[in-house]
Amino acid sequence: MARPAPGGRLRAIQIAGGVVLLFLCAAPYLLGTYFRVFVTEMLIWGLFAMAFDIIYGYTGMLSFGQSTFFGAGAYAVGLTLVHAGSGVWLALGAALLVSLVLAAVIGYFAVKVSGHYFVIITVVFSLVFFRLTLQYKAVTGGDDGLSFQIPALNVGPLALSFYNPVVNYYFVFAVVLLSFLVCFLVMQSPWGRIFVSIRENEHRARLIGYNVERYKLLAFMLSGLFAGVAGALYALTFRYSNAALLHWTVSGQGVLWAIVGGAGTLVGPFLGTGLMVSFTDYIGFWFENYQILVGAVIILMVIVAPRGILGVLMGEGGKGGTSGGR
């Protein structure tokens, strides 16, 4: 398990976290139009990376299939709005349901294997759903994607428009914050402890009487659910969905962001997403083959700071593996 961070460092991180939270609360009034959308997008991708980290950082299963749930959430919103002519709340409900059911079905098969086999099965499921999305072009728009209009969001007597970037930002921020709090409570609960015990020693967890497959499935479903929520927020923000969102390379991005930020934590994936998305957005303008630089940064991170940036900040840079539930 991770060495506890010295009190001073921990407190410094807590203060910095508080500053960031305050900044996020006021962001729409501090930022220009582009960065308002940019931070909104980072929150969405951060939620996606955090969802991945439930399955990887906490439970020890490396999945490249979380993009399936992200894409499912995005398409559930788009298709419900286009074909059912529903409101935003129903579209969000559909996204939650679809991603949860899909995660239960895929997870049922995937958690029966572990190690490399688990990685492969998640990639295969991801490719199957990606191909299906391409195939049923008349419904999904395939490679070209699906553009749609978002109706006003009814909250009591208020009808809020997603076309107002401030409304869009606060809605995304609220959902991400709520998702973070739910995940935090789950990870502090006995379920979270059991996830970590499976990651640390699956055999021992089994010997002391836990139904390991059931808890793995639970972690997989939780991860899929929040990846689906991120996908739904993406669709509401950009009014667009595309088959490419289901491709396993999207999962790969979540993996990288979580590892760079600090796997096995809920904050690390947000930190990694923020840094990497800012880095690529800035560097991409100056250097078209920026992915070479991204690759170099990741190699460097894995060698120098295997616990990610959060690990470095907490003085655990040299320790290998994931850092336990925080």
Partner: protein
């Protein structure tokens, strides 16, 4: 004082807050206020510099830079300097839509010239309306200036609708009436199929089969095996590496002997017939500006070719191996000049005048000139599509030779507007 807080060293705090500062660097930087009439006019270019169509994107980038340089050398537009900002969309719709937004909201682009990837265009057109910015995409899918388009979207080049109207009647009458389509499985490929099918059925032809092929397929044999034996005309539409794979494998399987092969120049874009060892020999293709200078040897076309440094026969870049995207790069060049013409006609000064620019360009007639070397054309008011000349060509002895020109008046007969965007409010 809290003991933990007391023990928080300044170094610890700076380390943590430093990470946050790096992540947010530049976000809150003050920006120069725009809108003053002396400020540069900013043209954004959403360009496919990397990814599947990067071999075309290279020339689009070059054409846009050359146009802006020429305009600035001549005093800019309405006395204002023109600034070009280019963002790479990675030939990816999701990235493309984000870069489109970035061009407008971060770089403050007044106008945006778009990608040649129809998927990127379709993802970006709703954002153009949302951000009230003129968008001139280079992709060919007809929908962008029809049911998936809006009043902010304009064309200077061709689209699948005009291409079908230009080429399909002659091919059906003179080469074969039993068509099979093999095409890239995304908006552009489907748009080619749907538009051609309509024209072929109008002129008494028959579509035997449609065979969509996923992008990036290396092995075409399973798809070519589905081509019905009675096909007289095999229509293909691909780009880049997929084109080379199609030409090579259809030739290896003897399709060039059993039926005529027909395509748009797009499938041969940035590829010299000489570089694929005769795999495309004998194929008919529709050009939107001949690759060989001798078929459009005008002072304006010669000048444009000299600015991008290409040879007169293969369109190969001087001192290199790249082959010009001959049927597309000119449209990027002309898009920059269209922006200029619209500003000068409407008196546009800032983004708030964009509706005036749109009204000025709707129905604008563009005369063949240095600004419009491809030829005379009209930007139709109703659907914002350009009515242009085409050329029917054939690959012979490793060169793309024009057989005859199809004048825009002929094209227009089978290319009436299907929407009226002028009714849309701003």
């Amino acid at each position: 004082m809290d003991k933990d807080l007391e023990s928080t060293s300044r170094r610890d705090f700076l380390k943590v807050s430093g990470a946050a500062a790096i992540a947010t660097a530049g976000w809150i930087s003050p920006r120069a206020a725009k809108g003053a009439t002396s400020a540069p006019i900013i043209i954004g270019h959403q360009c496919d510099l990397t990814g599947g169509i990067s071999s075309w994107g290279y020339w689009h980038d070059k054409a846009a830079k050359a146009a802006v340089e020429e305009i600035n050398k001549a005093g800019g537009i309405a006395g204002r300097e023109v600034k070009l900002v280019t963002e790479d969309d990675e030939t990816n719709p999701t990235v493309g839509a984000r870069k489109f937004r970035r061009l407008i909201q971060f770089h403050s682009a007044d106008f945006v010239i778009g990608s040649v990837h129809s998927g990127v265009n379709i993802a970006s057109t709703p954002v153009a309306k949302e951000l009230r910015t003129v968008y001139i995409p280079q992709g060919m899918a007809a929908e962008m200036t029809e049911d998936k388009g809006n009043r902010y979207v304009f064309r200077v080049g061709s689209d699948t609708y005009s291409q079908a109207a230009a080429g399909a009647p002659w091919v059906s009458a003179n080469i074969g009436k039993k068509w099979t389509f093999i095409f890239a499985d995304y908006a552009w490929g489907w748009s080619h199929f749907n538009e051609h099918k309509k024209v072929i059925e109008q002129v008494g032809g028959q579509v035997l089969a449609d065979i969509p092929v996923p992008q990036g397929s290396k092995d075409f044999i399973p798809y070519l095996a589905k081509v019905p034996a009675e096909t007289t005309e095999l229509y293909s539409i691909f780009f880049g590496a997929d084109s080379v794979a199609y030409f090579t494998q259809s030739k290896q399987l003897g399709f060039d002997k059993r039926m005529a092969r027909y395509t748009m120049l797009c499938t041969h874009e940035s590829i010299s017939p000489k570089d694929i060892q005769g795999a495309s020999e004998g194929i008919y293709l529709l050009e939107y500006l001949p690759r060989q200078l001798k078929y459009k040897d005008t002072p304006h076309n010669r000048k444009l070719r000299s600015l991008v440094h290409i040879d007169p026969v293969d369109g190969r870049e001087e001192g290199g191996n790249r082959v010009v995207a001959s049927s597309h790069y000119w449209a990027v060049w002309e898009s920059v000049w269209l922006i200029k013409a619209g500003i000068e006609k409407s008196g546009w000064k800032s983004k708030k005048d964009t509706p005036d620019w749109i009204r000025a360009v709707e129905g604008m007639e563009l005369k063949e000139s240095f600004a419009h070397p491809q030829g005379d054309k009209v930007v139709r008011a109703q659907d914002h599509k350009a009515v242009i000349d085409f050329w029917m060509s054939r690959v012979e002895n490793g060169e793309i030779n024009v057989k005859f020109k199809i004048p825009k008046e002929e094209v227009a007969k089978k290319f009436p507007p299907r929407v009226d965007l002028t009714k849309e409010t701003f």
